[in-house]
């Protein structure tokens, strides 16, 4: 993965990308993003009368010469965004070629690189049925190696419990910010993703869902007598993949994706669904820009 990510041309292109956030959560660090509040940035924000104790460096002396009053110049705050990258490493992510997990880890690494390069704080969470690895938000390009080591070690295992993992992350994370959730969203219950996303939204995170799907999940290329094995639970289903069975599958799958999309839309969550046969360059430089994940 490191080789793929550190391809010079790929890196050069990544450096042109920035994270897109609709609202900038207040973070403790000074950054490059202009906040909608006063602070110590370089762009003018407002005036206000001087009160004893104010820093004299911000007094507008031209105004004082004209009006004979001490007026303080206020500037827009510039702060860093706190980016939380949550990656699903459950067994269901081992499907496809490349596997959804490989694709998810590369995408997560790219997001990490973009974030760190733009002086943002970046945190990482890996989960399956529970949150098992969490890196608190940190800044600086030097952190990239640390993130890469953790992402490279990730293996697909366990079942999925989005609610448990994401609720846990929301409770443990001290910094609010932008969450990029990379998962296939196949939880162990029908309402699993709903509860998970609701938990993040309730904790005032701005949530983005990048749903990864293998092409064969969208259009199953199956026929004949089959024994389907759920990779997470081991449950088996003997079926005949005839025309009707495939049509029924596609109907159910389509309904699930539509429900997810509608739920995200209702809760102000940006959702983007992608299949792993799309080259990762195309995903990052074209599709996620269109999907307003990056700019």
């Amino acid at each position: 993965m490191r080789d793929a990510l550190f391809n010079p041309r790929f890196l050069r292109n990544l450096e042109q990308l920035k994270l897109y956030a609709r609202r900038y959560p207040i973070g403790p660090y000074h950054g490059e993003r202009q906040a909608r509040r006063k602070g110590h940035g370089s762009d003018f924000f407002d005036f206000r009368p001087y009160v004893p104790g104010d820093d004299l460096r911000y007094v507008d002396w031209n105004m004082f010469a004209r009006l004979d009053r001490l007026i303080l110049k206020l500037f827009q705050a510039e702060q860093a965004l706190c980016l939380h990258i949550l990656v699903d490493t459950s067994k269901s992510m081992s499907i496809g070629s490349p596997t959804k997990l490989e694709y998810a880890l590369r995408t997560a690494a790219a997001f990490t690189y973009i974030g760190l390069l733009n002086y943002e704080q970046v945190g990482l969470g890996l989960f399956d049925s529970a949150l098992y690895r969490m890196i608190s938000p940190r800044r600086g390009r030097k952190q990239m190696i640390h993130f890469l080591e953790i992402l490279s070690d990730a293996r697909a295992h366990g079942s999925t419990n989005l609610e448990s993992a994401l609720t846990n992350y929301a409770l443990q994370s001290r910094e609010r910010g932008l969450v990029v959730l990379i998962s296939d969203m196949f939880g162990d219950r029908d309402d699993d993703y709903q509860r998970a996303i609701a938990a993040l939204v309730a904790r005032r995170f701005e949530v983005r869902v990048l749903q990864l799907l293998a092409p064969q999940e969208v259009v199953p290329n199956l026929s004949g007598d089959l024994k389907l094995v759920d990779v997470e639970t081991g449950q088996m289903l003997e079926t005949t993949a005839d025309r009707h069975a495939i049509a029924r599958y596609r109907q159910n799958f389509g309904r699930f994706c539509e429900d997810l999309k509608a739920f995200c839309s209702r809760h102000g969550v940006l959702h983007y669904s992608v299949t792993t046969d799309i080259p990762i360059d195309e995903l990052l430089f074209i599709r996620l820009r269109e999907g307003r994940f990056l700019r």
Binding site: K91, M93, E217, L226, V229, D230, V231, E238, Y249
Partner: protein, 197 residues
């Protein structure tokens, strides 16, 4: 129903063999999927039933194979179904009245049993069917000419008595054959104890 070659029924041992091979037929292709939730729930229910129910669920191929084996076994065993033919326009009943028919080793005596069967056959006659009765004694004689009158026929049968003579069944059959040689086709029924000297 009887079997002329009962040893052919041994082929029925193939029935459990077919079922056995069906149970362990070529395995289904195993496909790993991220979740089963999108597959038809009705089909999913089937997977939860028992091993045998799952393996032997309505399978036309299995039913055809079992049917083929059973038919093959019945054919090899030469299954026969014996019943008195009916429906010919003319029927001749030959009743043996020789001395041996006087024996009472069966219920109503041998002649009584023969008369009973002959009367039963007459009772089942269809309208328009003609019957002749020949007594097979030392000299075969026609006791009733072709008639459709059941009462006359039954009376003629009831009047038969053992003669104490040697029965000439072969001559009686020859006589019946000559009678049937001319005119519409017919059939001959012989009621005898087959005790020939």
């Amino acid at each position: 129903m009887s079997f002329l070659n009962p040893i052919g029924l041994l082929l029925l041992v193939l029935v459990p063999l077919v079922v056995f091979f069906h149970l362990f037929r070529a395995k289904r292709r195993e496909v790993r999927v991220p979740t089963l939730r999108f597959w038809d729930s009705k089909r999913r229910e089937q997977s939860r039933t028992t091993f045998f129910a799952c393996k032997l669920q309505a399978n036309p191929l299995l039913i055809l194979q079992l049917l083929a084996v059973i038919l093959l076994a019945l054919a090899t065993a030469q299954t026969t179904l014996t019943r008195v033919a009916q429906g010919w326009p003319r029927t001749i009943l030959i009743v043996d009245t020789s001395a041996s028919m006087a024996a009472d080793d069966v219920t109503n005596g041998r002649l009584g049993a023969a008369q009973g069967q002959a009367e039963g056959l007459v009772a089942k006659l269809e309208p328009g069917q003609q019957v002749m009765i020949i007594e097979a004694a030392a000299h075969p004689s026609i006791r009733e000419l072709f008639t459709t009158d059941k009462s006359k026929l039954q009376r003629a049968i009831a009047d038969l008595r053992p003669t104490g003579e040697i029965g000439k069944i072969d001559e009686a059959i020859r006589l019946a054959g000559e009678v049937l040689a001319n005119g519409p086709p017919g059939e001959i029924h012989v009621f005898t104890d087959a005790a020939y000297p």
